[in-house]
């Protein structure tokens, strides 16, 4: 109420004063507004062209009969959606993607947190550790997958003889040859590749916690573990929320690593949802309409998952 009065007073005085004042003010206002639009236009154009238009196109595709080789034929309502939903592979893909997401998140986040604490604490090897942990992030995920494909290969990789010597597997077997082996091999790849990245994110959050709180707590006699539980974790909540959203979204959209390491095998046991979209488009059905329909479903699911996560984890306002 109080803040509105000056604005209202401005308007009254504007109306009261005729002539010179108003034109100058609105000209400047207009020029400022124009400058604002000029600065924003490139971003708007990019967002519209590269984000909104493709989404519109995919939604249109999902409702049309559009094959890979034959192109657009006609719209067909919800036929693509019903075909996608009646595919038995869809259930397998969704179940596997969820399982993989839970596994990766549960392993990756504590690992990143622990690494961040470790790097925080150690003084001498600080920079060496940080570099060593971060170097995998320099690799694109496809390159990392190829690297691990060679590592896991029974013909040329070094791991098979080692596992054989340890008695865990015999030299002729393939690590990627069983569903369990393939899943864990991929999880290892992802943890190796992303631990550094999430470690950095967590470290930023950790460093934002003021030292005085820890000092006050140790004066009060709190042990390290209690400090961790009662001070670090609650204050780290926004960071944890962010890393969790990133890992969950990234894992739900996992494609590159499975395409290169397992191609969805062995026997469709490591098939993720995005890999299924790729198959619909280019391999089995060669039907872009069906692929677009599944893409729309994945988009809706992702939005819901993220809204839910933000609500559940981003409740700092209420906490204070």
């Amino acid at each position: 109420m109080v803040t509105q009065i000056p604005a209202a007073a401005e308007r009254v005085t504007d109306h009261a004063v005729a002539g010179t004042r108003r034109p100058r003010r609105s000209r400047r206002e207009r020029r400022d507004a124009l400058k604002g639009w000029v600065f924003v236009t490139p971003t708007v154009v990019l967002v519209v062209a590269l984000f909104l238009v493709p989404i519109g196109l995919v939604v249109f595709m999902s409702g049309s009969e559009w094959s890979l080789l034959g192109g657009y034929r006609e719209t067909n309502g919800a036929a693509n959606f019903s075909e996608v939903l009646s595919d038995p592979l869809l259930g397998d893909a969704v179940r596997f993607t969820l399982k993989y997401t839970v596994l990766t998140t549960v392993i990756l986040m504590p690992v990143a947190f622990f690494l961040a604490l470790l790097v925080q604490e150690s003084r001498r090897w600080n920079s060496f550790l940080r570099t060593a942990i971060l170097v995998p992030s320099a690799l694109g995920i496809a390159s990392a997958s190829l690297l691990f494909y060679a590592l896991y290969s029974p013909q040329v990789g070094p791991l098979n003889p080692i596992l054989d010597a340890l008695g865990l597997m015999d030299a002729g077997g393939s690590i990627l040859g069983t569903p369990g082996g393939a899943l864990w091999a991929t999880v290892v790849l992802i943890v190796w590749r992303f631990a550094g990245y999430y470690m950095i994110l967590t470290m930023v959050g950790l460093q934002a916690v003021p030292q005085e709180i820890y000092e006050a707590a140790s004066i009060d006699g709190a042990s390290r573990l209690t400090q961790l539980r009662r001070i670090t974790l609650p204050l780290l909540r926004p960071t944890i929320a962010m890393t969790m959203i990133l890992t969950v979204t990234g894992s739900l959209l996992a494609f590159d690593q499975f395409y290169i390491l397992t191609k969805g095998g062995p026997n469709n046991s490591t098939l993720t949802v995005v890999l299924l979209i790729y198959r619909y488009a280019f391999e089995t059905r060669r039907d872009l309409g069906m692929a677009a329909a599944l893409s729309v479903l994945v988009l809706v699911a992702l939005v819901l998952v993220n809204v839910f996560q933000l609500r559940a984890l981003g409740g700092t306002r209420k906490g204070d």
């Binding site: 519109g56 080789l69 393939s174 040859g177 095998g265 280019f282 391999e283």
Partner: protein
């Protein structure tokens, strides 16, 4: 504390404008493609000019990586003797359909397009190729050509494709390993039982890395290439004539599967990595001298005739009680519907079908010609193994089905799962996998 100013009229107007603006953009995306109706499904009509023109045009051509040697031979021979020049582009096997698909949508297909013969029926139906019935009717030796590849590209009586490279499957064996195992190196397996026997003998050598045979367990395409000839040679019919039904659970088929199962259960019977082989490296173990006997593509055998570490024996793929058959695979070639140089492209194709070209490009290089006359007479100086391979063509077949790729070749296809269960897994599942194949073929 501060609840914030209520929205002034100008702010409300601005947010409403933003929403309308976004909506308009989204709709413009829809209408932009809605009005794009240029993609008709009918095959392009290349009629009008039946002549072949050689006027120095540059033609583009795409072919698959496995057949690079044969394709390069053909293109080089053509370019050396004519004014038209063909630019060859080799595509990785797995990328072919994606690239053809995107090129089809943007009307940027190459003038000449060669593709795996099992995919040709689908491509023809989707209108990738130009209709060249008139040109082909004008060919003198049309009846002399290998009909399998022509039939694959025939739709409603209109023809679109000619044979390009004929890749047949043969049984090969490592003569050195045979000698070591006490087998006659000049005599390959004449029946399926002998095949199992020979493989077991090599397996019993117990040499490091050496196995009796090799199966590309997760490559549907390689599996049909290797196993269907045994079914044909035994008098079985794996697919119905119109390609809508599969009989992969017949007694004949099951007998073939159990032969391989027996090897899988023998130590060193099937090479390490057979079960997981996706097809990327399925010809490598034999080339390295690690496999005793296995079905193999003939296009990969001719390169091993000279300068190889071991002698290679070649024979027809036998059935249960003898006989021999082969998978008439390889690539068929056609002119794409968006080509602007149909007459010049036809010049290349008509040259390729001539006896002279078939002789110099294929027969003289020990490759399989697509011309029956040349097959009969043109191999006088060829390696005797080539004669054996050519003789199997008469009994060979090529399966034709619109949805062949999804049912058989694609990663994770029901055919792949069927073999995985038949050879290494649960045999009782063979029937249900066959049903899954039928469901796809009948679409």
């Amino acid at each position: 504390m501060s609840k914030g100013k209520p929205m002034s009229t100008s702010t409300r107007f601005r947010s409403r404008a933003a929403v309308l603006f976004t909506g308009a953009i989204l709709l413009s995306g829809l209408t932009a493609c809605g009005s794009d109706d240029g993609q008709s499904a009918e095959p392009g009509d290349a009629s009008g000019s039946v002549e072949a023109v050689d006027d120095g045009t540059v033609l583009t051509m795409w072919t698959r990586a496995p057949l690079e040697r044969q394709a390069t031979n053909a293109v080089e021979a053509y370019n050396a003797a004519h004014e038209n020049q063909v630019e060859l582009e080799i595509l990785p096997n797995d990328d072919v359909e994606g690239m053809v698909g995107s090129a089809a949508q943007t009307d940027s297909l190459p003038d000449l397009l060669a593709g795996d013969v099992v995919r040709i029926p689908y491509w023809t139906e989707q209108g990738i190729f130009a209709d060249i019935t008139e040109q082909m009717d004008g060919l003198e030796n049309l009846d002399d050509l290998q009909q399998g590849h022509i039939a694959a590209g025939t739709l409603d009586g209109r023809m679109h494709t000619l044979p390009f490279v004929t890749d047949i499957s043969v049984m090969v064996w490592n003569k050195d390993l045979y000698q070591q195992a006490g087998l006659d190196p000049e005599a390959g397996p004449a029946t399926l039982d002998e095949f199992v026997e020979h493989a077991k003998a090599v397996a019993a050598l117990d040499q490091s890395g050496v196995a009796g045979s090799y199966l590309a367990g997760q490559s549907g395409g390689a599996l049909v290439f290797k196993l269907l000839p045994s079914i044909w040679a035994s008098g079985g019919e794996p697919l119905s004539a119109d390609g809508t039904e599969a009989m992969m659970a017949s007694d004949t088929a099951k007998a073939v599967y159990s032969a391989y199962r027996e090897l899988a259960e023998t130590p060193n019977g099937l090479g390490a990595g057979s079960r997981e082989e996706t097809g990327a490296t399925w010809t490598a173990p034999f080339q390295e001298g690690k496999i005793g006997v296995m079905p193999y593509p003939y296009t990969a055998v001719t390169g091993m005739f000279e300068g190889n570490d071991f002698e290679v024996g070649v024979g027809p793929i036998p059935g249960l009680d003898g006989g021999g058959s082969t998978f008439l695979g390889g690539d068929a070639i056609g002119i794409s519907r968006s080509s602007e140089h149909v007459a010049q492209a036809w010049h290349f194709l008509s040259w390729l079908m001539s006896d002279e070209a078939q002789q110099t490009v294929f027969a003289d290089n020990d490759d399989t010609a697509s011309n029956l006359t040349v097959l009969a007479d043109g191999y006088a100086e060829a390696d005797p193994r080539t004669h054996i391979a050519n003789a199997t063509i008469a009994d060979g077949q090529a399966p034709v089905a619109r949805n062949f790729n999804e049912a058989f070749n694609a990663a994770g296809s029901p055919w792949q799962l069927l073999i995985q269960d038949a050879v290494w897994g649960d045999e009782s599942q063979i029937e249900s996998h066959n049903e899954a194949i039928n469901a796809i073929l009948a679409q």
